[in-house]
Structures are given as structure tokens and as C-alpha cells.
């Protein structure tokens, strides 16, 4: 399989060349390129497909126990400073390559159906390919500078794709918000990289870890400083993986087309933060309070996301908060040192969440036929209901995803979440409790979502309800023209959309089985650098204490999951408990959750308004004080010079002086 390593660079370069060809076509021969829809999608899909095949080859070879592979070249140098770029392929990279290429491949197939009517279909494929390149470049990075480079590039692709429908105000605001919030995280990441380089003289993960540890142990730098640098680095993942307090961009990012929400904002890019924490694990693991901070950030974010997801009516917003919550689990896993469990959940989540987002896209696609192309109505779950009859494939796959995320065995999510909770319990029972409670909330809100969308009566033809929802959801000052087919009932999506759903359902059901406590092949394959993991010799029963522990842990998380599911059944399927009545009885809490803990409002009032005010004040200073001084200086020189002449020469000069003052006055008046 050395052959696969020879062509490893192609994994990233193939999508890049597809993006380059389409992009060049669009900018030079716009009209004719826009007509070549099929060739463009085939080019893009086959590029990522070929990359996927190579990625599978690499993964297979890594599973066989192949040595990690490294290829570098000198990228920049100045004097003594040398910086290399290149490709590293170890177990973690091999796995990430497969996750990214498979999800991207399926999403690109799905796109053909979803974006069929969009005039910017070719541009969308160009962006998708560009994103795939950036994400693949990120996961093969051998050092932190290369990670930073691709980190920013995936951020740029995310910016371009969130703002894809740039005529919508919501998209315009959301893409800027996403970029700026991520830049706040990158600010920390950049400083952290610089600080670590200053301290250790290296950009390579393991070197930084070893050096930093030596420095802290020898007392050359305080553990506080080392921790500070590590926390700065963690700001990057916190923004990218939407961790509190930098999570605010992700729900807004749902303004982008749904395939993007699935690929970038659920499966791959947002997981890049977790990936970076994994890469930086050698640095973090020796700093206990940093690990604690990471674990608690993750736990709190998991809880925050779940509490908000409970009350959302927009199906994509609900899924977005669910993503935030699940990313919180992964980060918590990293924080408690459960490296393997975190990556395991990253993988299972990538598949089932991508499937659910694509499913929500299929639902929206169907709803648009009935209610028109208005995102404020077509995405609202209150006008859905009963879609199972019309969209059987979508509903079954969505149900599989719901079961997986709710932690019902044997679906994928159960195994990964259970492993995280077990590790959290060993580290700190309080963390476990937060995670456990969140698991219950998760089961509840996911089944709420499933029931309101697919079960009950279809409400999409109820004009009064639609008008009410529309009035409530549409922000002031926005006019959305309803243009759609206005059919009477939704329809199942075309095969190009349902095929990816079905394909993703398989890993959503089965992939958890590679990491069961009975035979944890996954942990044997991927574990923290330096960690010793016993080899797996096939399926073996757990003995005594281990078995009891598994039963207690698994049982308690399944238990609370079942409580959540039962509540959802009573409230949203059978209607025995009125959700409205409960919402009314705890009105403040309900509003708190529905308004996303008022965090957006808080940021708007402080950071957004504050920075605008500061900028205006600086501008005032610039034009009045700094420039004013210059104009005044010019004015005074002329005045003194001219008035002296006036005393010598008399009248003519006096007129000149008046003219000068007049001109200068005008100039100053017009410049201020």
C-alpha cells in the first residue's frame, strides 16, 4: 500500500484542481461555464471520489500497522529560521481523511439534487471543492503553522458558503459574524503559536509538548505561563468548534445552503477544533488546569446547546444547537484525557449529524413545494408534521439519526457517548453529571424534533398558521417574495438526495460497533501519542468490575435517554401533556432558552455597539484633533505672514488676506 502514500498529496490536490478549473471558468467565460452544469458536478464529484479511494487505501494501510509517513519541504526561511510544510499521515490523519472525503463525496452528490434550481450551481461546486481541499490540507498538516494556514482557509470557505445567497440580509450578516468570531479565536491561536514558538523553538506538536514539559519541570518557565499559552491556543478550537463563549456564530451559519450545514457546520470543519486539541494533546496533557478548563468548557457548552435546542422551532437551528452540544461532549472528552473517546464521538457524530442535516434539507426541499421558497416558513417545524407518509426514506433515516444521537444502543452514538461519560466519571463525577443530564435533554429535544416533523397531522396547508409563523419569524424590514409551486402535499426528494441519506444511515447504525467496550478496535487504532493500549484479540466478555461499571454507566445513560424519549412521546406524539402549558408555567425559563440565553443580545450591546462607538470616536479625533491641528497650523502661518504684510503694504494685501481667510475657512469647513 506504499502506493497510496506516493499519491497522498493527490487527496488534497484533486479537489483543489476541480475548484481551480471551475473557478477559472466562472471568472473568464461566465456564461458558458454556467451552462455546463452536469460536467461541473461530475468533475467535482469524481475529484472527491478519487480522493476518497486514496483515503480508504491509506486508512487500510494504517490499520495494517504501517509506519507513519512524513514528507516535507522548506517553505520559508530567513537567516536561521526555517519553516517546513508538508504531509504527515498517521492513524488520526488517516481516519480524518476518510471522514472528510466520504461526507464530502456524499454531500456533493446530494448537492446536485438540492441546488438543482439554483442559478449559482457551478459556483457552489467550486466552493465545495475548495472547502474539501482546505479541510484535507488541515488534517495532513505536520506542524501548527500549516494547521493555522488551512484553519483560516476553511474559515474563508465557510464565510463564502454562509454568504452564498448574498442577496439575503441574514446570510450577509451571518457570514461576517462567523468570520469575525472565528478571528477572535484565531487571535488567541496565533498568540499561542507565537508564544509556544518563543518558549520551545518549535512548531511541531510533539516537540512543543516535550520541550514545554522540560521547561516547566526545570522551572525555566512557570506552569502558569505555559498554561496561559495553552489556553490561548485553545481559543482557536473554541471558536472553530463553537464552544461557549464563542459559539454564537454557528446557529447563524445555518443561513447557508443546507448541504453546507451538513458538511461544514456539522461533520467536518467544526470538528477541526477537536482535531486540533487532539494534535496539541502532547502540550495540553501535562497541564492539569488547562485540561480542566477544556473539560468544563466542553461540559458547559454541551449543556448550553441542549437547553437552547429544546425550544427552537427552526429545524436547522435546532440541529445547530444540537451540534454545539455534541461538540461540547467531544471537547469534554479531550479535557478529561479521553483522547480516543473524543475522536470516536467525532467520527460517529460526523456521520449521523451529516445525515440528519441532509435529512432536514430534504424536508425543507419538500416543504418549499408547499409553502414556497421562504426560509422563514419552510424551515419552521410548526408547519410540518406527518411528513413520514410523504417522505418515507427521509423519515426513516432521520429516525436512525435521532436514535443514534439519543444514545440508544446499538446505534453509533451510544457507544461513543457512553465511553465519554465513563471517562468523565473517572475524572470528575460532576462532569459526568452534566454530561448525563445533557444526554437526557438530547433525547428529549431530538425526539421532539422527529415527532413534530414526521408524525401527526401535516399542517403545511393551514394558511392561518403559516401566516402566523411567517409574521413571527420574519425580521422587521425584510420582504420575502413567495414564489414556489404551491403543491398540496410534499413529495419525497429525488434519488440524488435520498441516496446520500441511505448511505450515511449505514455508518450511523453500525460504526459504533468498532469501539464497543467488548472489543475496542477503535481505541487500539487511535489513542493519545505515548499512551499504551492493549491490543484487541477479538470479542471478549468484560469481567467482574468492568462489566458492572459498563452496565451502570450504559444503563444510566440509556435510562435518562429513555426518560427524555418518553416525555417527548407524551408531549409531541400523543399530546397527553401540553407543551404550551408547561412553557407558560415556566415562562421565564422558556423565554431564556428560546432567546438563547440572551447571549447574542449581550454581545450586540457590548462588543458590537462598543466597537462601533470606539471607531466613531477615533474618527472624530482623527478629523478634528489630528487633522485639525494640521489645518490650524497652516492657517496660523498664513495669517501671521499675511497680517505682517498688511501692516507694511496696506490695502491690496488686506483684500488678499480676506480671500485667503475665506478660502481657508471653506477648506476647513468642507474638510471637517
Amino acid at each position: 500500500m506504499d502506493f497510496a502514500y506516493q499519491y497522498a498529496w493527490l487527496v488534497a490536490v484533486l479537489p483543489l484542481s476541480a475548484a481551480f478549473i471551475i473557478g477559472t471558468g466562472l471568472i473568464t467565460f461566465n456564461k458558458s461555464t454556467n451552462k455546463l452544469r452536469k460536467p461541473i458536478s461530475i468533475l467535482s464529484v469524481s475529484a472527491i471520489g478519487a480522493a476518497m479511494i486514496i483515503a480508504f487505501g491509506i486508512l487500510w494501510s494504517q490499520i495494517q500497522g504501517h509506519e507513519p509517513y512524513l514528507w516535507t519541504f522548506e517553505w520559508a526561511s530567513a537567516g536561521d529560521f526555517h519553516l517546513s510544510m508538508g504531509i504527515v499521515i498517521d492513524q488520526l490523519t488517516a481516519l480524518m481523511l476518510v471522514i472528510v472525503t466520504t461526507v464530502s463525496f456524499l454531500v456533493q452528490i446530494y448537492t446536485d439534487g438540492y441546488m438543482a434550481h439554483d442559478p449559482s450551481y457551478p459556483r457552489f461546486y467550486a466552493y465545495l471543492s475548495l472547502f474539501s481541499f482546505s479541510m484535507l490540507g488541515l488534517v495532513v498538516s505536520p506542524n501548527i503553522v500549516q494547521i493555522y494556514i488551512f484553519w483560516e482557509l476553511v474559515g474563508m470557505c465557510s464565510y463564502l458558503l454562509i454568504g452564498f445567497w448574498y442577496d439575503r440580509k441574514g446570510a450577509a450578516d451571518a457570514c461576517q459574524k462567523a468570520f469575525v468570531v472565528n478571528r477572535v479565536g484565531d487571535f488567541g491561536l496565533l498568540l499561542g503559536i507565537l508564544g509556544l514558538y518563543w518558549a520551545t523553538g518549535s512548531f511541531e506538536f510533539e516537540q512543543i509538548g516535550i520541550q514545554l514539559n522540560t521547561l516547566v519541570e526545570s522551572g525555566a518557565i512557570s506552569s502558569f505561563l505555559a498554561g496561559f499559552l495553552a489556553i490561548l491556543v485553545f481559543l482557536g478550537p473554541a471558536a472553530k468548534s463553537a464552544q461557549f463563549p464563542l459559539h454564537v456564530w454557528l446557529p447563524d451559519a445555518m443561513e447557508g445552503p443546507t448541504p453546507i450545514s451538513a458538511l461544514i457546520h456539522a461533520a467536518t470543519m467544526v470538528a477541526a477544533g477537536v482535531f486540533l486539541v487532539a494534535r496539541m494533546f502532547p502540550v495540553f496533557e501535562h497541564l492539569p488546569f488547562v485540561m480542566n478548563a477544556i473539560a468544563w468548557t466542553g461540559a458547559f457548552t454541551a449543556f448550553l446547546g441542549a437547553t437552547i435546542a429544546i425550544t427552537q422551532n427552526d429545524i436547522k437551528k435546532g440541529l445547530a444547537y444540537s451540534t454545539i452540544s455534541q461538540l461540547g461532549y467531544m471537547v469534554m472528552a479531550m479535557g478529561v484525557g479521553a483522547y480516543s473517546a473524543g475522536i470516536f464521538h467525532l467520527m460517529t457524530h460526523a456521520y449521523f449529524k451529516a445525515m440528519m442535516f441532509l435529512g432536514s434539507g430534504s424536508v425543507i426541499h419538500g416543504m418549499e413545494e408547499v409553502v414556497g421558497h421562504n426560509p422563514f416558513v419552510a424551515q419552521d417545524m410548526r408547519v410540518m408534521g406527518g411528513l413520514r407518509k410523504y417522505m418515507p426514506i427521509t423519515s426513516v433515516t432521520f429516525l436512525i439519526g435521532t436514535l443514534a444521537i439519543s444514545g440508544v444502543p446499538p446505534f453509533a452514538g451510544f457507544w461513543s457517548k457512553d465511553e465519554i461519560l465513563a471517562s468523565a466519571f473517572t475524572a470528575n463525577p460532576a462532569l459526568w453529571f452534566v454530561g448525563w443530564l445533557t444526554a437526557g435533554l438530547t433525547a428529549f429535544y431530538m425526539f421532539r424534533m422527529y415527532f413534530s416533523t414526521f408524525e401527526g397531522e401535516f399542517k403545511g396547508t393551514n394558511a392561518a398558521l403559516i401566516a402566523q409563523v411567517k409574521a413571527e419569524n420574519t425580521p422587521p424590514g425584510i420582504v420575502v417574495e413567495d414564489h414556489g409551486h404551491h403543491a398540496h402535499k410534499p413529495h419525497e426528494s429525488p434519488l440524488s438526495m435520498t441516496f446520500p441519506l441511505m448511505a450515511l444511515a449505514i455508518p450511523s447504525i453500525l460504526i459504533g460497533l468498532v469501539g464497543t467496550p467488548f472489543a475496542n478496535y477503535f481505541e487500539a487504532f487511535i489513542h493519545a501519542p505515548g499512551e499504551v493500549v492493549k491490543a484487541v484479540s477479538g470479542f471478549e466478555m468484560l469481567h467482574g468490575e468492568e462489566m458492572t461499571e459498563f452496565l451502570i454507566m450504559g444503563g444510566s445513560s440509556v435510562g435518562i435517554g429513555l426518560v427524555g424519549i418518553s416525555l417527548a412521546i407524551l408531549m409531541y406524539l400523543q399530546g397527553k401533556i401540553s407543551a404550551k402549558a408547561i412553557a407558560k408555567s415556566i415562562q421565564p425559563l422558556y423565554q431564556f432558552s428560546k432567546n438563547k440565553w440572551y447571549i447574542d443580545e449581550l454581545y450586540e450591546a457590548t462588543f458590537v455597539k462598543g466597537s462601533r462607538r470606539l471607531a466613531r470616536q477615533v474618527l472624530e479625533v482623527d478629523s478634528k484633533v489630528v487633522d485639525g491641528a494640521v489645518n490650524l497650523a497652516g492657517f496660523v502661518t498664513l495669517l501671521t505672514g499675511e497680517s505682517l504684510k498688511y501692516f507694511e503694504n496696506g490695502k491690496t494685501q488686506f483684500y488678499a488676506l480676506v480671500i485667503f481667510i475665506g478660502v481657508l475657512g471653506l477648506v476647513i469647513a468642507s474638510s471637517v
Binding site: D2, A78, D80, I149, L160, V180, Y197, L215
Partner: protein, 533 residues
């Protein structure tokens, strides 16, 4: 037969455009300027080809000293020599000048007012700008520097916007005021000591006392601070940039600002290294002020041109920090930032001009939603804005990271000072996307602005415009992907400059190279990962 080996290339590339500009009155033209613009473009291309030829055949990357040297006695009574040469500081900027000036001529296609005078001035400027970077005689430098002002003044005051006279006057007063300091400092340096000389290399090896150096340094700093510009000497720039037409804009942002940075490196740092040891922290602080102050001002600006103008000021802050870093990497980053901003600034200002040609307004509130009508301009504007906000893969990122890493690893400053500086400079990393992306959002995103589209015809970019931006983006991305493309051209010179600077600080002189924070510890080799094959 032409002797290409010993042909005076630098003299040729300075004088050829000037000589050709003098022939413009004899170019037959219908009065619409169509022949003249082709004439100017061909002259520009020939000159650029000559620069590239000279660079490829006569310039050796490995040598830190002056190359392509020519020296002729001109006015012996004044001690004035026509002496030109190029080292790593000059050569990239000469290449940049040739490149941007030629593109600026191509960008002047829509200019119809007084074409003869316009292209005469453009060509005269072309030669003058190269002259500033190439001459190696102090007096000649001063002349070139002054000569440069006249075309800019005229280009601003005849082809500018509504407040063009105010802007042009402000520009000339500022720069001429600054030039006075150059003259004083240069004369003082020339007449210091036994031998009176204007030759820059001789001036650099003279042994000036410290107080003398500090005064001369201060004088130069004011003059070059106006040009770069450095806060608080920057207020001419938004006015000049706000009024200039697109091609003039490209020259102002692409080349003229770089003269300030070039001169600081060549004279302040290169000739007065002892004073630099005292002034360097001030440069760093001014650099931070530039970055943050100008970024905030830019955010509040409602006029498109002034917004970009302030963004230029903000980016120049990194040049100052790099110059003050006392490291190879930081200095190299400062030079790269100048080149990179030359390309990015020129492209952004060209696009602003192209947008203005269609919307006929620069006020952001009057725009909005024009992306649907002008997708190509939208795409190019986005690409150049992303380059400007230092997106990796483009040149601005490499330059800024080099300055950051160079400064962070500098051993000339205390850790606290470095920490505060790096944090504050990194605030710029957050502020830049805020104002650039808001700008894009306000111009292109959102629902179509009916008021604007009702009376303006918004046509998308024509091939000429796409070509210009493509020409600028290729080196931007090229440098971003592989920085050694350009850094190798000046690395040797930058390193020898840094050695000079470090020798002037006794504490640093011992160490041949910048050290890392804890260099004493042996680096362990990376374990686990092994190379295949």
C-alpha cells in the same frame, strides 16, 4: 553591436520612460487619447521587460552588496554623481514599480481628460519612482524624491475628485515640509568629517557621534514618516487617496508609500544604526498605533476610498514593527509587507475605482446589493479584501506572520514589552476583517439597492479589468504559497543589515543570530515519525 553585459540597465530604465514621455507631444492622435495610451503602454512594457532582463541576467541573489552599479560624475563642482545600483532592498521595489506602473497605465484606459498631459506625467513618474529606489547618491536621491512630487501634485489636482485642490495642496505641503528635513540631515551627514561626499555607501561607513545620529535620524524619520505614513503625520493620505483617480491611486498606494519604508531601512537603519538602537522601540510603538488607530478609523469611515486609505496606514504599521525587531525574520517580514501591500493596495484601489466608475458614488450608505449585477467585480473585490486581511495562501499573511514571529523571538526587548506589543498588534488581526468584511457587506450583499440601480447602469467587469486583477493576484498568491520566491531576492541584504543593526547594540553584538527564549536547552529530535522510502 549592443553590449548587453555592460549595458547601463538601471540608467536606461530610469531615463527611458522620461525620454519617451517627452515625445508624447509628437505622437499623432485623434484627440481621444487612444493612440497615446497604447504608446504609453508599450513604453511601460518595454521598460518593465528591461527591468526583468536586468534582474535575470545581472543580479545575483547571494550577494548582499550593490549590483548593477553605474557611476558617472555629473556636476563635479557640487560633488554630484549619477550613481545608481541595486541591492536586496532596491531590487524587489524596482521590480514592483515596473509592474505596478505598467498596470496603472493599463488601468488608465477610461481617462479621457487631457490624455497627452496625463500619460506624460504617468511616464515621468514611472522613471522617477525607479530613480528613487535605484540611486545611490544622497543628493540625487533628494532630487528624485522632490521630482516625484510634481507629477503627483498635477495628477491629483487635475484628475482628482471634488476636493482635489485641497488634497493636492495638502499633499505637497506635507511632503515638501518633510523633504526639508531630508535635505538638512543629508547635508549635515555629507559635510561631517574630513571628506565631503554624497555617496550613500561612503555616508554609511562614516563614524558619526551619537547625538548627531539621533538628530539626523529624527529628521529622516519625520520626512519618511510623512510618506509611509506614520501617525500623526498621516492626514494627507486619506485626502490624497480620497481624491485621486484609480491609476494614480494604484501608484500612491502601490509605490509611493513604499518609498518611506525603503528610505527608513536604507538611511535610518542602514546609515545611522547607533541611533536606531534608541529609536527602534519608538518605531515599534508607532507601528502599533498605526495598526490599531487606523483600523478603527477605517471601520468608522463611510467613504470607500478613505476606508481603504486608512487600511493602508494600518498595514504599514507592520513594516515599522518589523524594522524595529532586530531580527532577520522581522526585517524580512517588513520588506515583504511593503511588497505585498504594494500589490494588494494597488488591486484594492483599482477595484474601488472600477466600482466607482459604475456606481458614481463612494458613500457606502448609497450602495448595497450590487453583487447580483456585478458578480465578477464582487468576486475580485472579495479575493483582494481577503488578501488584505492576511488570509493564508496570500502574501499579506506571510509578511505579517514573519513580522510576528520575528518580533516575538527578538532578543532586543524585554518579554513584557514583546508580550504587550504582540497582543496589541494581534488586535489588528481582529479589527481588519471587521472593517473589510463590513465594507464588502455594505457594497455587495443584501437586497438590490433600487435607488442606485434606477439611475446607474451596473455592468460587470470587462476583460481588461479582469486581466489587471489577475496580474496582481498571481504574485499575491504566488508569494503566499511559496514566500521564498521573493524573500530569496533580498535575504542576503536583509541579513547583512540586521548584522549592522545588532552590532550597534553591544548586548546583541555578541550573539551572531537572534536567539529563542530558552535556547540553552537542547532541542530533542522528533521521535515517532519517520520518513518513508
Amino acid at each position: 553591436m549592443l553590449d548587453l553585459q555592460n549595458f547601463p540597465w538601471l540608467t536606461f530604465v530610469i531615463l527611458f520612460p522620461v525620454a519617451m514621455s517627452l515625445l508624447i507631444p509628437f505622437v499623432p492622435d485623434q484627440g481621444d487619447g487612444k493612440t497615446i495610451r497604447w504608446y504609453a503602454l508599450v513604453v511601460g512594457l518595454i521598460n518593465f521587460t528591461a527591468i526583468v532582463y536586468a534582474f535575470c541576467t545581472g543580479y545575483d541573489f547571494a550577494k548582499p552588496d550593490l549590483q548593477l552599479v553605474e557611476s558617472y560624475t555629473w556636476v563635479p563642482q557640487l560633488g554630484l554623481n549619477w550613481s545608481v545600483g541595486a541591492d536586496g532592498l532596491s531590487m524587489p521595489l524596482i521590480l514592483l514599480t515596473g509592474f505596478i506602473s505598467t498596470l496603472a497605465i493599463l488601468a488608465s484606459w477610461p481617462v479621457t481628460l487631457k490624455p497627452r498631459l496625463f500619460y506624460f506625467l504617468m511616464l515621468a513618474m514611472y522613471g522617477g519612482q525607479i530613480g528613487v529606489f535605484a540611486v545611490q547618491d544622497m543628493l540625487l536621491f533628494f532630487f528624485m524624491w522632490e521630482l516625484e512630487l510634481i507629477p503627483v501634485y498635477l495628477l491629483l489636482s487635475i484628475w482628482g475628485g471634488k476636493k482635489r485642490l485641497y488634497a493636492a495642496t495638502k499633499f505637497i505641503l506635507y511632503t515638501a515640509g518633510g523633504s526639508l528635513f531630508i535635505l538638512i540631515a543629508a547635508l549635515a551627514m555629507a559635510f561631517y568629517g574630513d571628506n565631503v561626499t554624497f555617496d550613500m555607501r561612503s555616508l554609511a561607513i562614516k563614524d558619526y557621534p551619537l547625538t548627531f545620529q539621533l538628530f539626523a535620524y529624527g529628521g529622516f524619520l519625520i520626512a519618511y514618516g510623512v510618506k509611509l505614513p506614520i501617525f500623526p503625520l498621516h492626514t494627507w493620505l486619506p485626502d490624497a487617496h480620497g481624491e485621486a483617480t484609480a491609476p494614480v491611486h494604484m501608484l500612491l498606494a502601490g509605490i509611493l508609500l513604499k518609498m518611506g519604508g525603503y528610505a527608513i531601512l536604507r538611511m535610518n537603519a542602514g546609515m545611522l544604526p547607533d541611533a536606531h538602537a534608541y529609536f527602534a522601540p519608538i518605531l515599534v510603538i508607532l507601528g502599533i498605533v498605526n495598526i490599531i488607530y487606523a483600523a478603527l478609523t477605517s471601520f468608522a469611515q463611510r467613504s470607500l476610498k478613505r476606508k481603504i486609505a486608512y487600511s493602508s496606514i494600518s498595514h504599514m504599521g507592520f513594516v515599522l514593527i518589523g524594522i524595529g525587531s532586530f531580527t532577520d525574520l522581522g526585517t524580512s517580514g517588513a520588506i515583504l509587507q511593503m511588497i505585498s501591500h504594494g500589490l494588494i493596495g494597488a488591486s484594492l484601489f483599482f477595484l474601488v475605482g472600477a466600482t466607482y466608475d459604475r456606481t458614481h458614488t463612494l458613500i457606502l450608505d448609497e450602495m448595497g446589493g450590487i453583487g447580483q449585477k456585478m458578480p465578477k467585480i464582487f468576486a475580485m473585490f472579495t479575493a483582494c479584501s481577503l488578501a488584505s486581511l492576511a488570509l493564508p495562501g496570500m502574501s499579506g499573511f506571510v509578511a505579517e506572520v514573519m513580522v510576528f514571529v520575528g518580533f516575538a523571538t527578538s532578543d532586543a526587548y524585554s518579554n513584557t514589552f514583546k508580550l504587550v506589543t504582540v497582543i496589541l498588534a494581534a488586535v489588528g488581526v481582529i479589527l481588519t476583517p471587521i472593517y473589510l468584511l463590513s465594507m464588502l457587506r455594505e457594497i455587495f450583499y443584501g437586497a438590490e439597492n433600487k435607488e442606485l440601480t434606477s439611475h446607474e447602469e451596473l455592468v460587470d467587469a470587462e476583460p481588461r479589468e479582469v486581466f489587471i486583477i489577475a496580474c496582481l493576484l498571481i504574485p499575491i498568491i504566488g508569494i503566499g504559497l511559496y514566500p521564498k520566491l521573493i524573500t530569496q531576492v533580498y535575504d542576503a541584504t536583509a541579513q547583512s543589515l540586521v548584522v549592522t543593526l545588532r552590532n550597534s547594540v553591544p548586548r546583541l553584538a555578541k550573539e551572531a543570530n537572534p536567539t529563542l527564549g530558552f535556547n540553552s536547552l537542547e532541542l530533542k529530535s522528533a521521535p515517532r515519525i519517520t520518513v518513508l522510502e
